[in-house]
């Protein structure tokens, strides 16, 4: 008997499908010599290593947060096993105390006492104000603990450094001294130095988080006492979900229609061009707002379709991604159509035609592989735009459900928090840091990809 019962939300399925497709494309490309060359060109760029590590960490967190199950409730002997009604994710289990131990209201990062003054009568009837200590977090001996965690993380970095040097030495068949020289001058093909410093920074960050997040609210607590750090971590899945699901819905349209329009031309081209000109003529945010509004009223008027609130929020998120996908395929479709127009005049396409290949075969084996680099670069760069769009749409009121934890909802709440006295700045700062890191990493990685895969088009 398992101590839990797995549940898979529709959004979990879709996120895994997206990752599986990405993995298949990646491993398939490794079979081709020119793609191996291209991937090498990518990882030889220090920027790609720096941003790639950040992306791997974010994706790992999101995957942990996408594995849902119902935990088993404690049972008495002989009775049927009972499972909790609310599902938990792997991430919830890792950060167990953070999700369940809520304070009552705001508290500053690393605080030991609540932010709001509480009044009470003493025996003589006088009023006294005091800041009540936090219920769950805040321990003593902070400097000592900081020292211990600091020393520990330095120790891990040292071990990591020695391991990496040993690995380099074995690989290059050089003396210890030369290895060190090459490493520190950064003259290696694979940017080992950048790799080391990025990993060292993350080792410090992660060991501090691991050392303190169970003893302090390291990013404070929000209005209802939830741990802001935990919310920021949970938001990663929402941001990533919006990006990857939108891509999942958008790519079939963009690739299919773009290539068909470019390859066949004529009437087919006219119809597809008409469709995408019409859609792109509507200002993006207005079309999204109108569609979401319409879906929202539909969901509100048909509550019977959904068995639970979290399922409703999940479906609303998927609907949002579907809409973003249906409105967002135009840009890529236009580029792919133009590229296909060029490719179909190529000699190898003419040769394939004369040899009797069907049009579907020509598309799959001659055209798509030759536009793949455009698709990959666009996916990564559009992804960052979608993460940013989530916050804006949520603010406008057409984004994710208010009950879904997301950076957009955190920023939305921050407007009121900045206006109060004393100023509550930490939820906004936390959302900013997490979101900025993610979007920056995506943008940098996208640029690195473009440098390597498509050097002619440079922005």
């Amino acid at each position: 008997m398992l101590p839990f019962k797995p549940v898979i939300f529709i959004s979990d399925w879709l996120i895994f499908i997206f990752l599986a497709i990405a993995a298949i494309v990646f491993f398939h490309s490794l079979k081709k010599a020119h793609w191996r060359q291209a991937w090498k060109k990518i990882v030889y760029q220090p920027v790609a290593i720096f941003s790639g590590i950040i992306l791997v960490i974010y994706f790992a967190i999101a995957i942990c947060d996408s594995i849902h199950f119902l935990p088993k409730l404690p049972q008495s002997n002989g009775t049927q096993a009972n499972y909790a009604a609310a599902s938990e994710s792997l991430l919830d289990v890792i950060f167990k105390p953070l999700s369940s131990e809520n304070e009552t209201t705001y508290s500053k990062p690393w605080a030991t006492h609540s932010l709001t003054l509480t009044w009470y009568h003493d025996a003589k009837g006088h009023f006294h104000g005091y800041y009540p200590p936090l219920e769950f977090k805040g321990v003593k001996n902070l400097p000592l603990k900081l020292l211990i965690v600091g020393v520990l993380s330095l120790f891990i970095i040292l071990i990591f450094y020695l391991g990496l040097s040993w690995f380099c030495k074995k690989r290059w068949h050089l003396s210890w001294r030369t290895t060190q020289q090459l490493f520190w001058q950064g003259k290696t093909l694979f940017p080992y130095r950048t790799f080391f410093f990025t990993m060292a920074a993350w080792i410090v960050i992660i060991s501090f988080i691991a050392g303190f997040c169970f003893h302090y609210h390291i990013f404070g607590t929000d209005k209802v006492g939830n741990d802001v750090f935990y919310e920021s971590i949970k938001s990663i899945r929402t941001g990533l979900l919006i990006g990857s699901l939108t891509m999942l819905f958008m790519l079939p349209f963009a690739i299919g229609l773009g290539i068909i329009a470019g390859y066949f031309g004529g009437k087919t081209d006219d119809v597809i061009q008409y469709i995408y000109t019409t859609i792109s003529s509507i200002p993006g945010i207005l079309l999204i707002a109108a569609s979401v509004l319409s879906i929202q009223v539909f969901i509100n008027n048909h509550p019977g379709f959904f068995s639970s609130i979290s399922q409703q929020a999940d479906l609303r998120l998927i609907a949002l991604c579907l809409i973003l996908g249906l409105t967002g395929w135009v840009g890529l479709c236009r580029i792919l159509r133009a590229e296909t127009l060029k490719l179909r005049e190529m000699d190898y396409v003419a040769a394939a035609k004369t040899l009797g290949s069907s049009w579907s075969r020509i598309m799959v084996s001659h055209i798509i592989p030759n536009v793949m680099h455009i698709i990959i670069v666009t996916v990564v760069l559009d992804f960052s735009g979608l993460v940013l769009a989530e916050a804006v749409l949520t603010y406008v009121g057409v984004g994710v459900d208010p009950s879904t934890i997301s950076w957009g909802n955190m920023i939305d709440a921050a407007r009121m928090e900045l206006a109060r006295e004393p100023v509550v700045w930490w939820p906004l700062t936390a959302a900013f840091c997490f979101m900025f890191t993610f979007v920056l990493a995506l943008n940098l990685f996208g640029d690195a990809l473009r440098n390597a895969l498509d050097p002619r088009s440079e922005i």
Partner: protein
């Protein structure tokens, strides 16, 4: 030229009809007018009689595409498709679901929107071009590398943060400008200072990077080498030749948004409490006033299509090589 223009305008009509049909599908087919009535009246204690009453008073008590009760042409015209959706082509948008006249609202709210959008566009263009030229002037140096990196950093910050940080810093801490609000007339400048500044700053990242690419492409062309070989200074080439030729692709990007300036900015107007069209749209979304949302989608499309046509015209005006046939 004239014939081309007529053809372009005629080509815009099927697009607008397409947009009109999309909004019709979204607001009348996905959700019936009954759903709309229920959303407006609130969820509890709504009787069928109240819904019918609401539909009659707002003119939604018609069939979707075909009215069997009427005779002759009215079978087609006396329907929601014609009365509520296609009627937008006459630019008479009727009343909002709250009962206010949309045309009057728009003509009043257009001006605050323009007051923010026009200075933001002009200033933003100026600042971005200056920065891009600077970066190009110092090309292949450490300065360029760090400037391009800074652009990516600025691009990665959400627009919301620029607004929130600007309001907090300049209005709350330094108290240089009011946090939000608006007065009509010339006194409005105090309220416009911050939103315009925020709009310009938040555009620097993407704008500078994009213009830099354009100028870099221009500077690698043959005529630049010729000009340098003749003995012109780097600066003279940059300002007299590269800037002029680089303006062509920049113009395409700018002219197309000019008509859309009327629509205003959703975020800026709502954060700074400016009673413009962007704010109008947000209010309509939050109160689920579909009549306004439909109108704004249609208007936004009209402005965009006009922008596309204007772009073509400016192209022939500034670049003698381009001929419209």
């Amino acid at each position: 030229m004239f014939a081309y223009l007529v053809r372009r305008i005629l080509y815009a009509i099927p697009i607008l009809i397409g947009v009109n049909l999309i909004t019709f599908m979204l607001f009348f087919v996905v959700n019936s007018p009954d759903d709309m009535a229920r959303a407006q009246l609130g969820k509890k204690y709504v009787t069928p009689a109240m819904i019918t009453q609401w539909k009659i008073s707002h003119g939604y008590n018609l069939p979707l595409y075909y009215n069997a009760e009427q005779a002759g042409i009215a079978k087609i015209t006396d329907t929601l498709l014609v009365k509520k959706s296609l009627s937008q082509f006459t630019f008479n948008f009727g009343n909002s679901d709250q009962g206010r006249n949309i045309n009057t609202d728009i003509s009043q709210r257009m001006w605050p929107s323009l007051a923010i959008a026009v200075p933001s566009l002009v200033l933003g263009l100026f600042v971005n071009i200056v920065f891009a030229l600077l970066v190009v002037f110092f090309r292949y140096t450490f300065f360029e590398l760090s400037a391009v990196f800074m652009c990516v950093v600025l691009m990665s910050i959400s627009g919301l943060f620029y607004i929130i940080a600007g309001q907090y810093l300049f209005a709350k801490i330094l108290q240089l400008v009011p946090i939000s609000g608006y007065v009509p007339g010339l006194d409005a400048w105090r309220f416009l200072l911050l939103p315009v500044a925020v709009a310009v700053i938040s555009s620097i990242g993407a704008g500078t990077r994009w213009y830099r690419t354009i100028f870099m492409e221009e500077i690698s062309k043959e005529y630049v080498r010729t000009a340098r070989a003749k003995g012109l200074s780097n600066l003279a080439v940059l300002f007299r030749h590269v800037l002029k030729n680089g303006m062509l692709p920049i113009l395409t990007g700018v002219v197309v948004v000019i008509p859309s300036l009327f629509m205003g900015s959703l975020l800026l107007e709502s954060f700074f409490g400016v009673p413009g069209l962007g704010n109008y749209m947000i209010d309509a979304i939050r109160s689920q006033d579909f009549a306004i949302v439909r109108t704004m989608v249609f208007l936004g499309t009209v402005f965009y299509v006009i922008g596309l046509i204007l772009t073509d015209i400016t192209y022939t005006l500034v670049d003698p090589r381009v001929r419209l046939e």
